[in-house]
Every structure is written in structure tokens, then in C-alpha cells.
């Protein structure tokens, strides 16, 4: 995908650009609000990564508002050193699609970018989810793998649903906390791993091919590919 990065810190810029290139994406960069606004308005991007505070008179929120007003629907991920929930809400209200607090892990950024671009593509009223031979019926709330029924607790069901909706993408622990448990804070435990391993026990243990895999330094992925 083609990504625009608007960020004034050089180190962060290099880190993100290098990471994006290495994972097979192309990226443009602007180091101030004016250039960022110009590029975002004139070039077609799949996603924009935008620093909340930028040098000059145009800050991140102003760019978002201007783009949305002009009818641009490009997914925007806001980067910010301001972690307050209020700031987060402001960013999302202004028209951002996701919010990531600095400092962040690159895996987290990439996973969220992936989620954003996919969402803008699919996201529809689905009643069935399928990954390889794992099937989930959202109406009857039944989960099967192959021809075997899998009994899940409500929360496990929600967890699996999120993973299946983001199949073949990396999903980070924070994304799971936010979307499955609605926890917008760091509970300082590795409990997500425990929940995942319990889920893995149910969907993968008796099968030759594991679907739910751990991605080092990033999170998890539910994938049909090896």
C-alpha cells in the first residue's frame, strides 16, 4: 500500500519509513503541516500516518478536518505524544480513524495500518466468517472447525470474531484489549497471551494445521496460510 507519513521528528520518520519499505509498502514523507496537507490533498494514498503536533501553523487536527471537509476518505492514523483519553477522543472526532500514542512499537503501527486499510475495503454486514476450515456463524453464534463443533465462552467468541474479521493480519495485544475487552489502558499483565492460548487450545489443539499464530514482537495472527 501507499502511505503518507507526516511527521517532524527525523528519527521517528526514518524508523517508520524503513519499516514500511521493508514490509513491502511505499511511503511518502512530509515534515510539516503545509507539505503534508498538500501531498494528502493531491496524491492518492491508501493511508495517512499523521503526527498530532506539527511545526508551523497547520497541525495534525487541522489537516484531518480540511481533508474530511474536502471529501477525502483516506484512512488516517494519528500519532501523538498526548495520551489523554480526551486527546484521543478529539483526534477521532476530528475525523481520524485510529490513534496511537508515542512511543510505539512498529508492529503496532503496521498492524493498525493494516486493519485500517482492510476495513475501508471490506466492512459489511457479514453473517458468516471463514478462515480455512474454521467457520463462525454470527447469527447462531456457532463455531465449527472441520466437522467438529467448538464451544466457546462469550468472551472467547468475541475474541475469535475479532481475529477472524482481521484474518491474515497481525493483531496486537493492545488492539485486542481495546476491541475485545474495551480496555483503553495497559493492565500491565500478559493475560492476553493466556486468553489467546486458551482459545488456541480450543481451535487448534486437535488439528494438524495451527491457525492462530504468535507474531514475534507484534501480536497474533489468524491465518490460513503457512
Amino acid at each position: 500500500m501507499k502511505v503518507l507519513l507526516v511527521e517532524d521528528n527525523e528519527r521517528v520518520t526514518q524508523f517508520v519509513l524503513k519499516g514500511l519499505t521493508e514490509s513491502g509498502h511505499t511511503a511518502d514523507h512530509a515534515s510539516n503541516g503545509r507539505d503534508g496537507m498538500f501531498l494528502a490533498a493531491s496524491e492518492p494514498y491508501d493511508a495517512i500516518v499523521l503526527d498530532r503536533m506539527l511545526p508551523g501553523d497547520i497541525d495534525g487536527l487541522a489537516i484531518i478536518e480540511a481533508l474530511r471537509k474536502a471529501g477525502k476518505r483516506t484512512p488516517i492514523l494519528i500519532l501523538s505524544a498526548l495520551s489523554d483519553v480526551d486527546e484521543r477522543i478529539r483526534g477521532l472526532r476530528a475525523g481520524g480513524d485510529d490513534y496511537l500514542t508515542k512511543p510505539f512499537a512498529f508492529g503496532e503501527l503496521l498492524a493498525r495500518l493494516d486493519a485500517l486499510t482492510r476495513r475501508s475495503q471490506v466492512e459489511s454486514v457479514q453473517t458468516r466468517l471463514e478462515v480455512a476450515d474454521l467457520r463462525m456463524d454470527l447469527l447462531t453464534r456457532k463455531v465449527t472447525r472441520g466437522d467438529r463443533d467448538i464451544a466457546l465462552q462469550p468472551r472467547e467468541f468475541k475474541l475469535l470474531e475479532y481475529l477472524m474479521r482481521h484474518a491474515d493480519q497481525v493483531v496486537t495485544r493492545t488492539m485486542l484489549l481495546e476491541n475485545v475487552w474495551d480496555y483503553h489502558f495497559d493492565p500491565q499483565t500478559n493475560l492476553i497471551d493466556v486468553h489467546i492460548s486458551k482459545l488456541r487450545q480450543k481451535i487448534d489443539a486437535d488439528f494438524d494445521r495451527p491457525l492462530l499464530r504468535t507474531v514475534r514482537n507484534a501480536g497474533y495472527t489468524l491465518s490460513s496460510h503457512e
Binding site: 495520551s83 489523554d84 472526532r93 480513524d97 483503553h184 493492565p187
Partner: protein, 493 residues
């Protein structure tokens, strides 16, 4: 206390200005008092002076009239010669030098008396006159009674009022003297008051300077029962106590921050330095780098916890209060921590009311509950019990409680555990930053309640009571928009 040192640091700009202000205020005060004293003096002297004038002049005239009538009687009974003789005798006796007498014939030729000729200013009609006369070579004021006697004779009986001038002068001198004494004492009093005031203010300034140098143990001298300045000193001392406590708290926190941040930073440094020195095989290097990243994550999480505490303490989050169901939040937290209980071999249970509507910040309440559960899990031994309960009390308030069967907290330590970075003896060696309970306490405070810690026999029971929200819950459990949920509806902030 080194006075010079104190003077050097003391309020460089404000000091002299304060001094000037005080000086002028002491000056104004004493000038005011002196003026008031003088006014009192004048108000006292003026009626006295007036009474004196009136009484003396009236009685003087009466005496002169009586004297004149007496002499007129002599004239009527015994004739001009007898009167002239009487007058000459009286003048000759030289009693009452101030008395002026003149007996003159119809042609105004003096027949007897101590005035050598008829004063030109005296009108020829009888009556009472006050005039200035040239007498014995000096001019003086006289009061005269002029009688017209049968046969055209004139009689003047008068009094040299100049005789009383020295007395009057003495009166004025006395008044002036009183004024001078008053002013002197007033000024002296002003100076003394100012000096006493300055001495005490100097003491205050010294103390304040010492405090500004960093020694917060200094206090202003103050007796339990004293004057207004004493009361002021006591108030300032109370303020200083509070400041000292705050500074102490801040110092504790920064020490704790220093310690808790330094430990992961030190580990990080050692790790990186070792890598740079030993240059181990790539696999080992990567493992070390991963460990270094998690060291950094630890530092970041401490920062985040501190920032969040500061954010809560600032009270700004109250604006984000929405109706939430505390029972739902607790259920989600129990659900989240269930696997941890299983791993530990402790039983984590939830007892909940059907609904527990409160007004609050859902994110913070969730964090508070999960901190309490996390804390309970940490200290509960295998086979122990943790009971999370959300119940509606008889008074319709909602109580959230997390009770464990761990070692509990000694009564004396209960107030300390909510201090930032405090970690009880029992917690040594368990992971954690020591901010968990202080965050819960801060969240409770933000919601207008308190975190209560009680003995659970055995174990600890942590609880807080929130007021029930009577409004219906519109949007349960979340105030934070899901990514994209609010998308494309710009709100201009």
C-alpha cells in the same frame, strides 16, 4: 540562621518595596495619630478659651460698672471735690494698677485720676467702650465705662486689659507646649511601633528566607494565645506545615520515580553496554535487544501510569462522566482476569447486582477494578479466594468491593499503600510499580468517594461506595469511540 545569607536570597525585588511600604504606613499611622491628638487638643482648648473670654469680659464689665456706680454715688452725695479726692487717694494708694480712672469737668479737663488727659477716642456719649489707648508711652487695649454725671462731669472707669496679655500668652504657650509634647510622643510612639513591627516582620522574613533556601523545618515564633500578628504567624505556620507535607510527598514520589525508573534504565544500560563490549553471536544479540526493548517498555509503562495519575488528579476527567453500569464493568474485569486466577490456583468469583448504574468514567472505573483484582491476585496464595462484588446497599448506594484471602495489610500500613510507589514488605519480589492502589484511590477521589481498606479475616477487603445514578443508561460501558465510529463527522474544536 545566617542573616546575611538570608538577606541575600530574601525576596530580591519585593523586599525593599515592602520595607518602603511599611515605612510609609508606619509614618502615615503616626502622622494620623498626631493629627488626631492635635485636633482633640484644639477641640478641648477652644471652648475653654471661649468660656474664659466671655466669662472674664462679662465679669470685668460688671465690676467696672459697679465701680463706676459707686463713684457716681460719692459724686451725687458729696460733690465733685469729694470724688476727685477719693480718686486721687485711690490712685495714690497704687492698688490695682490696671484700673484706669479719670474724672473730668464738662470741658473734659481732668480733675483727678491716673489718665493725664481725656482720650480723644472716647465718645462723649456715655457707655461701654473697648479701645486702644496710648498710656504711659505704650499702646494697650482698655475697656472703659463712661458715665455722664450731673452738672456735665465725666467719669471714666476702665481697665487695662493689656495687663492680662501675659496670661493669655501663657495659655497659648501651654497649648503649644501640649501640642509639641503630643507630636513628640506621637512620633516616638510611631517609631517604636514601627520598630517593634519591623523586628517581627524581620523575623518572618528571616524564616521565609530560610525556607526559600530549602530548609522547610523553620517555623515562625507563635504563642498559642497572642495578638493579631501571632494569629497571622500561626496561620502561616499551618500553611508551612501543609507545604512541607506536600514537598515531602513530592520528594517521596521523585525518589520513588528515580528508583523505579533507574532500575530498568540501569538494566537497560548494562545490557546495551555488554552487547557493545562483548559483541556476542547474532542470536544472543537479538535476544538481548528484545530484553532491552522490554526494559524500555517498563519505563514507558511507569511514565504512563504517572501521567494517568496526574491526569486524574487534575480532575479534568470529570467532564467525561457518563452513565455506566458498574456491574458490567466488574463482570468484564473478572472475565479478563479469570485465567490468571486459574493459573494461580485461586478462585475468582463475582457477585453482582443485576444493574448498578453510576455516573463515572468507564475507562478509569475499569482500570480501578482491574487494578484491585490484579492486586488481590498478586497476594492471594494458591487455593485462596477472591470475591468481587457489586451490590446495591440499603441506602441505594452502590458498593464495589474486592476481597481476598491473602496476607492483608497491617492496619498501620493501610494509609500508606495508596501512596505513590509504596510497596509493602510482602510485595517485595512481586512484579509491579507500586502505583496500582494509588490509582484506585485517585479514581475513587475523582468519583467523589474513598477507597476503604478493611480486614477481611484473613485478607484485605478494598471497597468504594458510589452514588446510584437514577438516569437511564444510554450507552453502556464505553465513552471512548471505537476507531472509525465517529469518522467523517468533523467537529470543530
Amino acid at each position: 540562621m545566617n542573616e546575611q545569607g538570608a538577606a541575600r536570597v530574601s525576596l530580591p525585588e519585593a523586599g525593599p518595596r515592602h520595607l518602603r511600604a511599611l515605612r510609609s504606613s508606619a509614618l502615615k499611622l503616626s502622622v494620623g495619630y498626631i493629627g488626631l491628638g492635635l485636633l482633640a487638643l484644639v477641640l478641648f482648648a477652644a471652648p475653654l478659651w471661649y468660656a474664659w473670654r466671655v466669662t472674664i469680659e462679662d465679669s470685668r464689665m460688671a465690676i467696672l460698672q459697679a465701680d463706676a456706680q459707686r463713684l457716681a454715688q460719692v459724686f451725687r452725695r458729696e460733690g465733685p471735690r469729694a470724688l476727685a479726692g477719693l480718686l486721687s487717694e485711690r490712685v495714690g494708694l497704687q492698688i490695682a494698677n490696671e484700673r484706669l480712672l479719670l474724672f473730668a469737668d464738662p470741658q473734659l479737663k481732668p480733675l483727678a485720676g491716673n489718665i493725664d488727659r481725656w482720650p480723644a477716642q472716647v465718645p462723649l456719649t456715655p457707655g461701654f467702650n473697648t479701645l486702644r489707648l496710648q498710656l504711659d508711652g505704650h499702646e494697650t487695649e482698655v475697656a472703659l465705662v463712661h458715665l455722664l454725671l450731673p452738672g456735665g462731669y465725666h467719669l471714666l472707669v476702665g481697665r487695662d486689659t493689656g495687663f492680662y496679655v501675659p496670661l493669655e500668652r501663657r495659655f497659648w504657650y501651654a497649648l503649644l507646649g501640649a501640642a509639641v509634647i503630643l507630636s513628640t510622643f506621637g512620633a516616638l510612639g510611631g517609631i517604636l511601633i514601627r520598630r517593634a513591627l519591623m523586628a517581627r516582620i524581620h523575623l518572618v522574613r528571616q524564616t521565609v528566607s530560610a525556607i526559600m533556601l530549602g530548609d522547610l523545618t523553620h517555623r515562625l515564633p507563635a504563642e498559642p494565645e497572642g495578638d493579631e500578628l501571632n494569629t497571622l504567624s500561626q496561620t502561616i505556620n499551618r500553611m508551612l506545615n501543609q507545604i512541607e507535607q506536600l514537598v515531602h510527598g513530592v520528594r517521596n514520589v521523585s525518589n520513588a520515580v528515580a528508583h523505579d525508573l533507574r532500575t530498568p534504565l540501569a538494566e537497560l544500560r548494562v545490557r546495551l553496554e555488554e552487547l557493545s563490549l562483548t559483541r556476542p553471536a547474532p542470536e544472543h544479540t537479538f535476544a538481548e535487544i528484545d530484553a532491552a526493548v522490554s526494559d524500555v517498555d517498563r519505563v514507558i509503562s511507569i511514565f504512563n501510569a504517572l501521567l494517568r495519575l496526574a491526569e486524574i488528579d487534575s480532575g479534568m476527567r470529570r467532564s467525561g462522566f457518563v452513565p455506566v453500569d458498574l456491574a458490567e464493568i466488574a463482570a468484564a474485569a473478572v472475565d479478563f482476569y479469570q485465567p490468571a486466577g486459574e493459573i494461580k490456583g485461586a478462585r475468582l468469583q463475582l457477585v453482582r447486582a443485576d444493574t448498578a448504574p453510576v455516573r463515572g468514567d468507564p475507562v478509569l472505573l475499569a482500570q480501578a477494578i482491574s487494578n484491585l483484582i490484579d492486586n488481590a491476585l498478586k497476594y492471594t496464595p494458591a487455593g485462596g479466594n477472591i470475591l468481587v462484588s457489586v451490590s446495591r446497599r440499603a441506602d441505594q448506594c452502590i458498593e464495589l468491593a474486592v476481597a481476598d484471602s491473602g496476607p492483608g495489610i497491617a492496619e498501620g500500613d493501610r494509609s500508606k499503600v495508596t501512596e505513590r510507589f509504596y510497596r509493602g514488605d510482602a510485595s517485595r519480589g512481586t512484579p509491579g510499580v507500586g502505583l496500582g492502589l494509588s490509582l484506585v484511590e485517585a479514581v475513587a477521589r475523582l468519583h467523589g468517594t474513598m477507597l476503604e481498606l478493611e480486614d477481611n479475616h484473613p485478607g484485605l477487603r478494598a471497597s468504594m461506595v458510589l452514588g446510584q445514578d437514577t438516569r437511564p443508561i444510554e450507552r453502556p460501558a464505553t465513552a471512548v469511540p471505537k476507531p472509525g465510529e465517529l469518522q467523517h463527522e468533523p467537529v470543530y474544536l
